[in-house]
């Protein structure tokens, strides 16, 4: 399915960046590409709020014990969080500048898609969809692997031009920018990395399961060469890509130097980058105070990816489509276009819903 769906599955935490994303996704799901408080209230509020508890709406038991319906009070909470979301969207508009593809009128609680969209705006939409793949059933794999490609471009844009940047995931094994490897088995891929880093480390097959083809936790591998063939490379970057909008805590350690330096025999610790399709910021452009940072990973989130890639777009006139997979580009194109498809609206009214 390539249609935005599951919109009754609103964020479970009160973090404004999650609610801003939710409003933006709802906006893309409508025919006229406009989300208002009314759209959100009438369409996606309280589809099933009297049963399951979530962290956010956690007081249903009290209602049920009183023979009451939790929906009215939950609706009020939803309204308040939506207001926070519109406010955060306005913050984003300021932080992202022209790269932000939406126009926000906070006092009217209205968010609409700009027209026409710049290449940078389309990149934003690609990252938004990647971080919210739960609203695109069946597209999780396409968006996850597609985000690795976008992250590859972002890492390449971050590092010096002579850097050798590779996609380390199994999906990209046969790609010219994948890790050169004798087979898809993990020890062979690690040998490929050792060769690129010229550390000379021995990889012992016995340490791995015979059929282990996983990526050991690194989606990206890069070398910034000193140009000395006789010495091991010392500037090594390992990156992990996370498309979920939250809960990426464990991924911060996947590319840590404590794990990788001994494995690949690196003479000095590698750099650990975490690429995030999400934009976990709060007012003042700091990272959201509720998220947990660990593993000493450098966070390259939506804002950082976008600003870096937009420089590339502007400098080289590279189209946004060249920075992502065909499938992701296809999803972006459909998301920003109006459609005549009419879907059944959850309230019972017919509503035009755009394909994405």
């Amino acid at each position: 399915m390539d249609q935005i769906a599951n919109l009754d599955d609103s964020p479970e935490r009160p973090w404004p960046y999650l609610w801003a994303d939710f409003i933006e996704i709802v906006c893309l799901s409508t025919l006229d590409k406009v989300a208002t408080a009314q759209t959100l209230r009438s369409g996606y509020l309280g589809q099933d709020v009297s049963g399951e508890d979530t962290e956010l709406f956690d007081d249903a038991d009290l209602d049920l014990a009183n023979g009451a319906d939790a929906r009215p009070r939950r609706a009020d909470k939803f309204e308040r969080l939506i207001d926070d979301g519109f406010q955060h969207a306005e913050d984003r508009q300021r932080q992202f500048g022209n790269l932000y593809p939406f126009e926000v009128d906070k006092s009217a609680r209205r968010l609409s898609l700009k027209t026409p969209l710049s290449e940078g705006n389309k990149l934003y939409v690609a990252l938004l969809l990647s971080a919210n793949h739960k609203y695109l059933p069946g597209q999780q794999h396409a968006l996850t692997t597609g985000f690795e490609v976008i992250s590859w471009h972002a890492l390449k844009a971050l590092l010096p031009t002579e850097s050798d940047v590779r996609l380390a995931g199994t999906t990209h094994a046969n790609s010219p920018i994948g890790i050169p490897s004798a087979s898809s088995r993990k020890p062979d891929k690690l040998r490929g990395m050792v060769a690129l880093a010229r550390t000379g480390a021995e990889i012992n097959d016995a340490q791995f399961w015979p059929n282990d083809t996983a990526d050991e936790g690194a989606d990206l591998f890069a070398v910034v060469p000193f140009g000395e063939p006789e010495t091991a490379e010392e500037i090594i970057v390992l990156g992990q890509c996370a498309t979920s909008n939250e809960n990426w805590g464990p991924k911060q350690n996947d590319a840590s130097p404590q794990k990788w330096a001994p494995l690949l025999g690196m003479p000095v610790p590698n750099m650990n980058f975490l690429f995030l399709a999400a934009s976990p910021r709060q007012y003042g452009n700091k990272f959201e105070r509720g998220v947990v940072r660990s593993g000493h990973a450098v966070w390259v989130d939506r804002q950082r990816i976008l600003k870096r890639l937009n420089k590339l777009v502007e400098r080289t006139a590279t189209p946004a489509s060249a920075l992502m997979s065909t499938k992701v580009w296809d999803l972006v194109t459909k998301a920003v276009e109006a459609s005549d498809i009419v879907a059944e609206h959850p309230t019972g009214h017919s509503q035009h819903t755009a394909l994405v």
Partner: protein, 371 residues
């Protein structure tokens, strides 16, 4: 609930004879009693009228959803539509876009391309407005066409005014709660909030630039009332003190300003709604309140409250809980990896660092022991 709606009672009434409800709980106070054009403009901006124009214009009016009307309080020869105002507004606009002073392009296009422009609509007539009102609670408070918090509060007050209820005030709240399937404390809080909004409106929103009833986020105000310290600050006994006999108007002015007055970059002094907890802590500590009133940012004023200590202990408690969960499942984990070791090391380092800081603050020489 009113009498069961009988399909036999459905009759067609000319659109021209149907008037929008000037007492519609959706409408802000400044639109109450206004004529159809003013109400239509407001409904178009704030409800689903545009979508309904497309739907009715494209597919016709669905006869299974008759309007609920009454002549009670209506001008001679007219019917007031108590339920179905958005659908009536959409139909009226399909027939005459000139009802809006400056009809937007979307309205003109919807009317121009409409296949159907009903001149009559199916209606069920009730003798009195109040006979319909009870039905609205299910539809718009608990049901699938929810009003916002302020609209719900207005509705509840109308219901109470039209149906004088016996018993003490709390008993009345319970009866109202039963009508909408909710709880008495929720009803009481909404009505207390509405009373405060009325006072604020009387005071012309304390001269706060840009603030009016539509821009005042009512659910934010009622959530603030959920904090006993904020109620005490205002002079309310609690969130259900609807009469607010001892209300401190100067403090109400302060609260409204902190919650709704926009400063640099459109931010209020509260910021996000989740900061209400901090505000509640600040207003309950004299020194913190003074600092905040003097202009110190909320997050800095928080330092003069006990909230940092509470948050610190909450965080420690949560951390212990999480560690206990990890300990309970570790024996079932088949594969561990180096990243697990890294996280444990990081936790270890944090514990050592936190212990050192706490030890220094307490002037204690108690060692952590072997980790």
């Amino acid at each position: 609930m009113p009498d069961a709606i009988d399909a036999k009672k459905v009759r067609s009434i000319a659109v021209d004879s149907l008037a929008l409800d000037p007492e519609n709980p959706r409408l802000p106070a400044d639109r109450k009693g206004a004529g159809d054009p003013s109400i239509i403009e407001w409904l178009y901006e704030n409800a689903d009228v545009g979508e309904l124009m497309l739907s009715i214009g494209g597919q016709g009016y669905f006869p299974g959803e008759p309007l609920l009307v009454t002549t009670d309080g209506a001008p001679a020869g007219k019917f007031i539509v108590v339920e179905g105002n958005c659908r009536l507004a959409a139909t009226k606009l399909l027939n005459n876009t000139g009802l809006m002073t400056k009809p937007p392009k979307a309205v003109r296009e919807a009317a121009d391309t409409a296949t159907f422009k009903p001149i009559e609509l199916p209606c069920i007539q009730f003798a009195a407005r109040k006979d319909i009102l009870k039905y609205l609670g299910y539809r718009h408070v608990t049901g699938v066409h929810p009003w916002d918090a302020l609209q719900k509060a207005r509705y509840l007050r109308q219901l109470r005014d039209l149906y004088p209820m016996p018993g003490e005030q709390w008993e009345q709240y319970k009866q109202l709660a039963r009508e909408i399937g909710s709880r008495a404390d929720y009803v009481a809080k909404l009505l207390t909030g509405l009373h405060l909004v009325d006072l604020v409106a009387e005071k012309r929103f304390f001269g706060i630039k840009g603030l009016d009833e539509e821009r005042l986020n009512f659910s934010l105000l009622t959530t603030a009332l959920s904090y006993s310290s904020i109620c005490s600050f205002l002079g309310l006994e609690n969130a259900t003190d609807e009469t607010a006999k001892n209300l401190d108007e100067e403090r109400l002015k302060n609260l409204i300003s902190w919650l709704f007055e926009e400063h640099k970059e459109g931010r209020t002094r509260l910021g996000e709604s989740r900061n209400l907890k901090t505000l509640a802590a600040v207003v309950s500590h004299e020194e913190a309140l003074q600092k905040f009133t003097d202009g110190l940012p909320l997050e800095e004023a928080e330092n003069w409250t006990s909230l940092p200590e509470e948050n610190f202990r909450d965080a420690l408690s949560t951390a212990i809980g999480a560690m206990q969960r990890a300990r309970d499942v570790v024996h079932r984990v088949q594969k561990t990896n180096d990243a697990d070791i890294e996280m444990l090391k990081e936790m270890n380092q944090m514990v050592v660092a936190l212990h050192s800081i706490v030890k220094d603050k307490r002037g204690s020489d108690q060692e952590l022991g072997v980790i």
